[in-house]
Symmetry: C2
Subunit: 331 residues, 2 copies
């Protein structure tokens, strides 16, 4: 296993401690519940925005806790949902008079933990809503979900509800906005290699030297097809066609276009995919209003990428453009 | 080769075109010279800051062109210095009454291209200075350098001279600041895997399944020692000791601490290294004033990391904290 790791059991806690040490003014780490939260949360004047999920998808979600984004993230272990009592304790800690919004990428394990955590929190009077994200067009049901999976497109939901909550919107309004963004967000990914979970120490699945997994899930779950590796443009076309065809688009539409790296792919290659996707959209008369080329939601060290499109209107574009702060420093 | 690539010969131009398409308001791409430049450059009221080097180190340097950072980057092909006439044409295009500062990471091929390009530009009246960066403590001379190599620490030089030039400092003052930052910046890296250049299509060197290359260069050049893979804390200690011991440090000193990923290592693992380095510094009485955990200067898809320390004083800290803009979007 070619990783920077000490005891694999301590992979997540050590990462979280590192995040807190690097951001002493803004973030707090609560080891008992794997919790990373803003130091200024909860705030009475805003809905608290929380996302949990398995770890191994960083920067999602523990590295996007900050002003205008998440108020807290409560991750599970690598590729494991957080325990329901972590969700419960997190909701209690983040409780405000305006309520708590729990964002959940649609994976059955996460749904279960959050449904139960929500119930426990509500029984103690914490006003809580759950918003499910299901942007992955690759498959209808999947290995670990009923219905579509939630993947990198959740980033846009987080940004939008983060901005809405920051300006003081009520819980109903924040939920409306989150659902609206989820409804116009579509993603599909491709894996060129498997990933290696620290506790397993070997690749999670086998993928031949000349193969790729089209429509892969963020834990390496099978997608639409395993087939022979293709060139970058052909791959970009296939991912883009899948997401464009899943919504009615017309010439003149504006979109946010994300090319998301899955962890082991350098950003140079992501821009090669971006180039093609941008041009193909232009050929359809679709304008890219906002571009995102980076790692947002990864699968440990998997080589691969996903393409996400968000159909923009003025309301969504304004929310995506709102100021925010995350622990990731680019300059 | 598990990469997103079309024709390997077009790897760099396609990446650059992608960057320009994603940043239509701020960046221009000049295909004749592999040049990415700010649309508002050159500006009469500021020194133009330019860095070239081989490609394959992204985001360095083509993705850190922007306000407060570089005015332009003129990369060569993957792991190849830019041709001298690209440097010359870039210096001419960026010429301002206040001059052009060419930043060069110390690799012999780059030095040669920039020395010659500078001479050509000066013969046409372009006021030009070169500032060499040599932050890598791993080896004194190396496979491709006389003297120490320039690696990820150049990021801090760029940030400081970018900020100084933005406020209108003269060329002499910008050079003084750049030298000062370089003088207090030290880096050492480690590779867990080799990288695969697109044109080669196979790993650049062999590294056993249980081996690591300590003190590796950013093209995979040998460092101090090839030895058995160790745990994250042990690796962090070794890198940190090397950079701390290379400058006189005393209890009470403040530093910027960077943990830089080499391209194939997920950010989760970088925070595990960060955690240890931060604590070890605290044990020595050294305070981390600014934290950087991300990919800044990579080696294609190499799994690995480097640690950089910058000894801070008020002047440097103010320059590092100045506002800037880069094409990399984190929210």
């Amino acid at each position: 296993m070619k990783k920077f790791v000490n005891d694999p059991k301590q992979f997540v806690p050590e990462m979280l401690e590192g995040i807190a040490l690097a951001n002493p003014d803004t973030l707090a780490y609560v080891p008992e519940y794997n919790l990373i939260m803003r130091k200024d949360a909860p705030r009475d004047d805003k809905v608290s925005i929380v996302q949990g999920s398995g770890s191994g998808h960083e920067p999602a979600h523990v590295m996007i806790v900050g002003k205008g984004m998440l108020d807290a993230a409560c991750p599970g272990d690598v590729f494991a949902a957080p325990p329901m009592d972590y969700v419960y304790e997190t909701a209690k800690k983040l409780a405000t008079p305006k309520g708590v919004l729990l964002l959940v990428n649609n994976y059955t394990g996460d749904r279960m933990a959050f449904d139960m955590g929500k119930e426990m929190a509500e029984s103690e009077g914490v006003r809580t809503e759950i918003l499910m994200i299901n942007d992955d067009v690759a498959v209808k049901d999947s290995t670990y979900t009923i219905g579509r999976r939630g993947v990198a497109g959740n980033f846009f939901v987080i940004k939008a509800v983060g901005a809405a909550s920051e300006r003081g919107d009520d819980l109903e309004e924040v939920v409306r906005i989150g659902k609206k963004v989820n409804d116009v967000t579509r993603t599909m990914g491709v894996a060129l290699t498997a990933c290696t979970p620290p506790a397993k120490g070997s690749p999670l699945f086998d993928l031949g030297a000349d193969e790729m997994e089209v429509g892969v899930g963020i834990h390496g779950e099978p997608g639409r097809e395993r087939r022979k590796l293709a060139g970058a443009d052909e791959i970009a076309d296939e991912l883009l066609d899948a997401v464009v065809d899943d919504l009615p688009y017309a010439s003149g539409d504006r979109v946010a276009l994300m090319v998301n790296g899955l962890g082991g792919t350098p950003i140079s290659e992501l821009y090669i995919l971006y180039r093609r996707a941008h041009k193909q959209l232009a050929d359809r008369g679709i304008t890219v209003g906002r571009s995102y080329v980076n790692e947002y939601c990864t699968s440990l060290d998997m080589a691969g990428a996903s393409i996400t499109l968000v159909k923009l209107d003025d309301e969504i574009e304004e929310l995506l453009a709102a100021p925010a702060e995350v622990p990731i420093r680019v300059f």
